[in-house]
């Protein structure tokens, strides 16, 4: 009875999550649906006395892998909504995909039914009294020890490959100072403004552009102090403006 309830709830969570992954137009929703499926499968593992695998399933899959998915989605900002109404290839691609999926399902079910829903082959001896993690550890470090060692190699290769693939290759000519163009334009504009001002004052004052410059700077300094005096009354708002005027 209790196993039936567990199977029904966990199986429904699995199927609903799977449908959610396929049918969600938003990748973030798809990733969260995937968590539902993975959690349901972890519950089914517990129902089949695979407690250690259930814990690993939750930690590795729901914990690490889905977080990695969400991290990539958020990092790249691709959490846009896909338009699912448009068939990508047209020409009945979805119908073909449905036929293929149902064919796979029918093939697996037919194969299982042909054996009478029984697993055939060598029947190992599992001692019900020994916890599953002990038996799993013993199997991994005796019978499957070479395969276990090779998986560590696989992980190292995967890490190296990931670093190599995701690294941004910079060439010399590609190194551009961000904001350099804006700064250059601002400097050019300020020089032009100063020249125009110096030219206008120089016309009235005669042949002394240097002294004209200092007087104009002095005038702007006075303006800044006046602004500061006002700003102390106004609070913090006046100050950045004054700083901006001076710089």
């Amino acid at each position: 009875m209790i196993e039936l309830v567990v199977f029904a709830v966990a199986g429904a969570a699995c199927l609903a999550g799977a449908v959610g992954v396929v049918a969600s137009s938003n990748p973030v929703h798809a990733a969260l649906s995937l968590v539902g499926t993975l959690f349901g499968i972890a519950v089914l593992f517990v129902a089949q006395d695979a407690n250690f695998l259930a814990a690993v399933q939750v930690i590795v899959y729901a914990g690490a892998i889905v977080v990695l998915f969400l991290f990539v989605i958020m990092l790249l900002g691709v959490d846009r909504v896909d338009n699912l109404r448009v068939e990508p290839l047209g020409g009945g691609q979805r119908v073909t995909a449905a036929v293929v999926a149902l064919g796979v399902l029918g093939l697996v079910l037919a194969t299982l039914a042909s054996t009478g829903w029984e697993a055939t082959g060598a029947v190992g001896e599992v001692d019900e009294a020994v916890p599953d993690i002990n038996q799993l550890g013993e199997a991994l470090f005796t019978r499957y020890v070479y395969a276990f060692e090779i998986t560590s190699l696989l992980l190292v290769i995967a890490v190296v490959g990931a670093v190599l693939l995701a690294r941004r290759v910079r060439r010399e000519e590609e190194i551009v100072d961000p904001g350099q163009a804006e700064r250059q334009a601002e400097v050019t504009e300020r020089i032009a403004r100063a020249e125009a001002r110096a030219g206008g004052d120089g016309a009235g004052n005669g042949e002394q552009p240097a002294s004209v410059d200092t007087t104009s700077f002095g005038a702007s300094d006075d303006f800044v102090t006046a602004q500061r005096g006002l700003g102390s009354a106004e609070g913090a708002e006046g100050l950045p403006e004054a700083e901006g005027e001076r710089s």
């Binding site: 199977f7 199927l15 593992f45 695998l53 989605i73 990508p88 691609q93 293929v100 799993l136 670093v163």
Partner: protein, 105 residues
């Protein structure tokens, strides 16, 4: 009446087959590379569920051991695959599975 129904391993196998075919369907119809990857994870999980079920049916730890290896391979696959997707989407934001060829060369 409901209490008389017993959950046999066959139920788990059918559930695994259903999950696998849903994953296949999603892999075939979706074009977002990230969602296609999630569908592959779905298929892998259906297979691990089937392995655990067989492990219980034949009373052997071999099925559970292979699930550990599937987990490791899935983790490695996700790391490399997401690196490829990052490289792809960095080159062209909003790239689909059809645009993988832009990584050539």
């Amino acid at each position: 009446m409901i209490g008389a129904i017993e959950v046999t391993p066959a139920w788990y196998l059918v559930l695994g087959a259903a999950l696998f075919s849903i994953g296949t369907f999603g892999l075939l119809i979706r074009r977002n590379p990230l969602v296609m990857f999630m569908c592959i994870e779905l298929m892998l999980n259906a297979v691990t569920l089937t392995f655990v079920t067989f492990s219980r049916m034949v009373r052997d730890t071999g099925g559970q051991s292979i699930v550990v290896f599937v987990l490791v391979v899935a983790a490695a696959e996700v790391v490399v695959g997401l690196a490829i997707i990052v490289a792809l989407l960095r080159k062209r934001p909003g790239a689909t599975a059809d645009d993988v060829a832009i990584l050539e060369g």
